[in-house]
Symmetry: none
């Protein structure tokens, strides 16, 4: 497991590193947010521990930047004890927030809890794959390509995200609300329903699957959509 540690106080970063390495994690240690963003893509991080108050880019800004592309757990570790900071930190995308001075054992327990949630409680295996291949569908998340009957079909970002979610859950119904939250990552309201419907229609069109009885993206009345295995 690869853990990212970002803290401009070297002693703290070193201390955290010792405990993490002791628990057999691979540690990537950084002293500035800028350097992190430069390397993030190639590191394949599973969890990040960020300091809030850093020179240059602060922890909150870094967290926001990370969340634009990644969903691995983020834990803030900070000397700031203001309640409003905790609330802000958790609101902008962090999963946990610990104040200094912290007990290393507690930090480790929280790291393990977050990794368990991220890796184990997730649907096993299925989620890690970046290619899903079944029936006459081949969809690749890494390359953002979709092949249907061996010919490439161009999808927009939203269309791809919807189809990917349905394929991840192939065989199972995805509730409209869950689908919305997966794709848009924000709260769902009734009116959003129509937005999804239009995208579904576009997808069906691109799969030549419009008409009364779609063969691929199937409507489950009052619940959501599913794609049969």
């Amino acid at each position: 497991m690869n853990i990212l540690v970002v803290d401009d106080e070297k002693e703290i970063a070193d201390l955290i590193e010792i405990y993490l390495k002791n628990a057999n994690y691979t540690v990537y240690k950084y002293y500035s947010g800028k350097d992190v963003l430069r390397d993030l893509e190639r590191l394949e991080i599973d969890l990040a521990i960020l300091d809030v108050m850093m020179q240059g880019m602060d922890g909150f800004s870094l967290c926001k930047k990370i969340r634009e592309k990644y969903t691995f757990p983020i834990i803030f570790v900070t000397a700031k004890v203001e309640d409003i900071d905790k609330v802000n930190g958790l609101t902008i995308g962090a999963d946990d927030y610990i104040t200094k001075p912290f007990k290393p054992l507690e930090l480790m327990a929280r790291v393990k809890a977050q990794l368990r949630r991220y890796k184990n409680y997730n649907q096993n295996g299925m989620n890690d794959a970046s290619v899903i291949d079944f029936r006459n569908i081949l969809i690749n998340q890494k390359t953002h390509e979709f092949y249907f009957n061996d010919s490439k079909v161009e999808l927009t970002k939203t269309e791809f995200s919807i189809l990917w979610c349905l394929c991840l859950n192939r065989g199972n119904v995805v509730k409209t609300e869950d689908l919305f939250r997966y794709v848009w990552k924000e709260d769902y309201y009734e009116k959003d329903n129509n937005t999804i419907m239009v995208h579904i229609r576009h997808l069906r069109e691109k799969m030549h699957d419009n008409g009364k009885h779609p063969k691929y993206i199937i409507t489950v009345w009052g619940v959501g959509y599913k794609i049969e295995k």
Copy 2:
């Protein structure tokens, strides 16, 4: 979203409930772990907030019991400030651990962070039990499919919900009022009785079980319905 609150100190449970309801969550409030375990299957909980020190079954034991079957996030709220308890709580399957006196806003931020992780960042709860298979009935909540004598029978959302509730409680009578509240999630009045009856009739029809002596969905006079094991 359905949130479970378990605390034998009524005032705390009530306080938490107020904040949760204010944020538009549905709250199921319990004062003992035993009662929770009895109802858990039919509640469809998305997140739990548990007190650690309770009379009878303590929070840790309840957490372990829940984790045998469910993966929704669990947050401990407790007066125990011993570090070792935090570590233990997080180790046995909890996702977060807050000590009293806690700031309600912080609790709410942590609830939201956990739900975001569970519902938006992760694919949600693939592991939670979703298939019931007995006699010649096979009902799958994830795929929203119902097989009767090995052939697929299409059900509407309400029909499915009713049958699922009866199957969850197979062997036992489900009171009309309880059935209504499970399916419609609102208060029950006499006139709703007829609505249920019509749906039951449709179900019986689809199971070729109309007539004087139904073999599957059995009427228990003056009480409700049951489906025999």
